[in-house]
C-alpha cells in the first residue's frame, strides 16, 4: 500500500506546482470552492452562535411554547441538527459534482507538465 502511494507521487516533478498555481484552471477551482464554502460557513456560524447567544441572553424568549411543552429553544436545537445534516449533504454533493472534476483537470495538467520537463 505505502509503496504504491509513493510511486504515484514520484511521477510528478518536484516543481510541478509552480506552473499549477499560476494556471487559469487552478484559479477557477479556488473561485468555485470559495463561492460554495463561504456561504455555508456563514449559515452554520450564524445558526449555531445565534442559538448560543440566545441561550445566554434571551432565556425567556427561548421559553416561548411552540408545540405542547416543547419551546422555541428546543425547536432551534432541532433546527441546528437539521442544518448540520443538510449542509453536510449539500457540501458532499457540490464537492463531488463540481470541485472534484476541477481538481482532476488541475492534477492532469500538473502530471503532463511534470513529464515534459
Amino acid at each position: 500500500m505505502g509503496d504504491a502511494v509513493k510511486l504515484s507521487g514520484a511521477q510528478i516533478a518536484p516543481d510541478a506546482w509552480i506552473d499549477g498555481i499560476e494556471s487559469a484552471e487552478f484559479k477557477t477551482l479556488i473561485d468555485a470552492k470559495q463561492r460554495s464554502i463561504v456561504p455555508m460557513i456563514v449559515i452554520y456560524v450564524v445558526g449555531y452562535i445565534g442559538l448560543s447567544v440566545l441561550a445566554g441572553f434571551a432565556r425567556n424568549f427561548l421559553g416561548t411554547k411552540v408545540v405542547g411543552a416543547v419551546n422555541l429553544g428546543f425547536v432551534l436545537i432541532a433546527a441546528n441538527y437539521a442544518m448540520s445534516w443538510v449542509l453536510a449533504i449539500v457540501y458532499a454533493r457540490i464537492s463531488a459534482n463540481r470541485h472534484d472534476p476541477l481538481v482532476k483537470v488541475v492534477i492532469d495538467k500538473a502530471h503532463a507538465g511534470g513529464r515534459a520537463r
Binding site: I12, A55, F57, G68, A88
Partner: protein
C-alpha cells in the same frame, strides 16, 4: 457486582484483544502504526470517528446533564455535531492533503522551522493530557462501581488495556476498537430509544410535558447549569472550533487513502454521532418522565448514571432479568467507550512525542523505519504509564474542569494556528509561537482562577474561558506573525502549500 456486566464486558474485551493480536501482525511500518496503512474506507473511518468523538462525557454525560438541567444538556449535545461543519468545510481535506501522521506534520510542512514544531508538540501534549486524565479518573470510578475493584486497581486495568491496544496494534487496532465501540454504543442507543418511546405510544412530546410537570416550570429553559450568559457563548464557540483542534480526532483523517475519502468519512460521523447526540436529549427527558427528578438526584453525581438507570428501568426494573440485562449491557458499553477514547488519546500523544519530537525535531527525520516504529511503541507504553499514574493521583480531585480546558485550548490555541497555517500567506513561525503561547496561557490561566477550579472563591466568573481565550489566541497569532517580519521566500512557498491543500498532489510524500 453485576455478573451480566462482567460477562458482556469480558466478551468485548476478548474481541478487542483478538483484533489487537491480528493488527499487531500487520503493523510493521510507521504508516501502519500511525495511520493504519492509510487503508480505511469512508464508512470504517466514519464509525471510528464516532467512536473517538463520543467519550463517556457524551454517552453518559449528555443524558445526565439533560435529566438534571434540562435545555443546557441539549445545548451540550448539539454542539459536537455542529463542530463537524467546521471540520468538513475547512480542516478534513486540507489536513489529509498536507500532513502525514500528526497535526505537527502540517505545521512543520508549512513552516519548516523547529520552534513552530515545538509549539505544536506542546499544544498536542497539553490538550491530550487534559483530556486523558478525566477519562482515566472517570473509568476508575465506573469500574469501581461496576466490578467492586479499588479505584487505583480500576485505573490500572484501563491503563493496561489501552497500552496493549496501542503499543501492540497501533492505529489499526485502535481504529477497530473504536468501530466496535461505536457499533455497540449505537446499538444500545437504538434499543433504549425504542423501549423509551414504546412506553409513551411513540410520542416524544409526552416526555417534555411530563418532565416539565415533574421537574418544575424552569426545567425546559436554558441557564439551569450555565448561569453566566457568557458561559453559553463560550460553550458554543469552544465546540464549534475546538473539535478541529483536537489531535486525537484529527489524526483519524490520516487513516484514509485520500481527501475524498476523508470528506465522506465526515459525512458518516455526522449522521452516526449526530443521531446519537440527538437521542441523548430524548433519553434525558425520558429519564425524568420515567424515574422522576428525585430518584435521579440521589447517588448520581453529575447525572452520569442516568442512562444506566433508565436502561435498567426500561428493561423491567431493578430485580428483573431484563433490567439486569439492560443495565449490564449499557454499563459494558460505557467501559468500552472509555477504553476506545483513551486508546485514541494515547496514540495521538505518542505521535507527538515519537514522530514530532524525537524523529522530526531531535533527529531531523534521520531515523530508520523499524527504529521509528520501535520508538513509537515504547513511547506508547510510557505515555500510557504516565496517564495511568496521573489518573490514580486524580482520585477525588474535580477533574471535570479539565475536559472543558482541553476543548478551550484546542479552540483557542490549536485551531487558530492550524487554520492560519493552512490559509494565511503572511502567517509564520512567530505567529505559531505567539498564537499557541497566548491561547494556551490564557486558557489555562483563566480556567485555574475560574469557578470550575476555585468554586465559590473564584476570581474570574466563567467556567469556560473560550470567549476570551479564543480572541487572545488569534491576537497572539496575528501579532506574532507581524512582529516576526516578512520572509519573501517563506511567503512564496505558500503557493505550493495552497496548491497541495486544494489538489492533494504529492499528498503521500512528506
Amino acid at each position: 457486582m453485576n455478573l451480566i456486566t462482567v460477562a458482556m464486558f469480558a466478551i468485548v474485551l476478548l474481541i478487542s484483544l483478538g483484533i489487537t493480536a491480528w493488527a499487531a501482525r500487520r503493523t510493521r511500518t510507521t504508516v501502519d502504526f500511525y495511520a493504519a496503512g492509510k487503508g480505511l474506507t469512508a464508512a470504517q473511518n466514519g464509525f471510528a470517528l464516532a467512536g473517538d468523538w463520543c467519550s463517556a462525557a457524551a454517552f453518559l454525560g449528555f443524558t445526565g446533564l439533560t435529566a438534571l438541567y434540562g435545555m443546557d444538556g441539549a445545548l451540550y449535545a448539539v454542539g459536537p455535531l455542529v463542530a463537524f461543519c467546521t471540520v468538513l468545510f475547512l480542516i478534513a481535506e486540507p489536513l489529509r492533503n498536507t500532513g502525514t501522521y500528526t497535526i505537527g506534520d502540517v505545521i512543520m510542512y508549512r513552516m519548516r522551522q523547529p520552534p513552530a514544531l515545538a509549539a505544536a508538540i506542546v499544544g498536542t501534549i497539553v490538550i491530550n493530557l487534559a483530556y486523558l486524565i478525566p477519562q482515566m479518573a472517570g473509568a476508575g470510578v465506573l469500574i469501581k462501581l461496576l466490578f467492586g475493584f479499588r479505584y487505583d486497581v480500576s485505573v490500572m486495568l484501563v491503563g493496561l488495556g489501552m497500552i496493549v491496544y496501542v503499543a501492540a496494534g497501533g492505529m489499526l487496532a485502535t481504529s477497530w476498537v473504536q468501530i466496535i465501540k461505536a457499533v455497540l454504543m449505537l446499538g444500545a442507543g437504538a434499543i433504549v430509544l425504542f423501549l423509551a418511546l414504546a412506553g409513551v405510544g411513540f410520542d416524544p412530546l409526552v416526555f417534555f410535558a411530563s418532565a416539565e410537570a415533574k421537574a418544575g416550570p424552569n426545567f425546559l429553559l436554558p441557564g439551569n447549569l450555565l448561569k453566566n450568559p457568557f458561559d453559553e457563548v463560550s460553550l458554543g464557540l469552544g465546540y464549534m472550533l475546538g473539535l478541529a483542534g483536537l489531535p486525537h480526532v484529527m489524526t483519524r483523517f490520516y487513516t484514509v487513502p485520500d481527501a475524498t475519502t476523508a470528506r465522506r468519512s465526515v459525512i458518516w460521523v455526522m449522521f452516526l454521532a449526530g443521531a446519537f447526540f440527538a437521542c441523548t436529549t430524548i433519553f434525558g427527558v425520558a429519564a425524568v418522565h420515567y424515574l422522576g427528578p428525585e430518584a435521579l438526584r440521589v447517588g448520581n453525581p453529575g447525572g452520569n448514571l442516568t442512562l444506566p438507570l433508565l436502561a435498567q428501568y426500561l428493561g423491567g426494573g431493578k430485580d428483573t432479568v431484563g433490567g439486569q440485562l439492560m443495565l449490564g449491557f449499557v454499563s459494558a458499553v460505557a467501559v468500552a467507550t472509555i477504553l476506545a477514547v483513551v486508546a485514541g488519546l494515547t496514540l495521538a500523544t505518542s505521535g507527538a512525542v515519537a514522530n514530532d519530537l524525537y524523529v522530526n525535531l531531535f533527529k531531523k527525520g534521520k531515523v530508520e523505519e523499524h527504529r521509528q516504529v520501535m520508538v513509537a511503541r515504547v513511547t506508547a507504553v510510557l505515555v500510557g504509564v504516565i496517564a495511568t499514574l496521573l489518573g490514580i493521583l486524580a482520585e477525588g480531585v474535580n477533574v471535570a474542569v479539565l475536559v472543558i480546558l482541553a476543548i478551550c485550548i484546542a479552540a483557542s490555541a490549536n485551531f487558530p494556528v492550524l487554520v492560519l497555517s493552512l490559509f494565511w500567506r503572511r502567517f509564520n513561525t512567530g505567529g505559531v509561537v505567539g498564537g499557541m503561547g497566548l491561547g494556551l496561557i490564557s486558557s489555562v490561566g483563566l480556567a485555574l482562577i475560574g469557578p470550575g477550579y476555585l468554586g465559590a472563591n473564584a476570581i474570574w466568573p466563567l467556567v469556560n474561558p473560550t470567549v476570551v481565550a479564543l480572541p487572545l489566541g488569534i491576537l497572539g497569532a496575528v501579532v506574532g506573525s507581524l512582529l516576526a517580519g516578512r520572509d519573501p521566500e517563506h511567503e512564496k512557498r505558500f503557493g505550493e502549500v495552497t496548491f497541495r491543500i486544494q489538489t492533494g498532489l504529492r499528498s503521500n510524500h512528506p
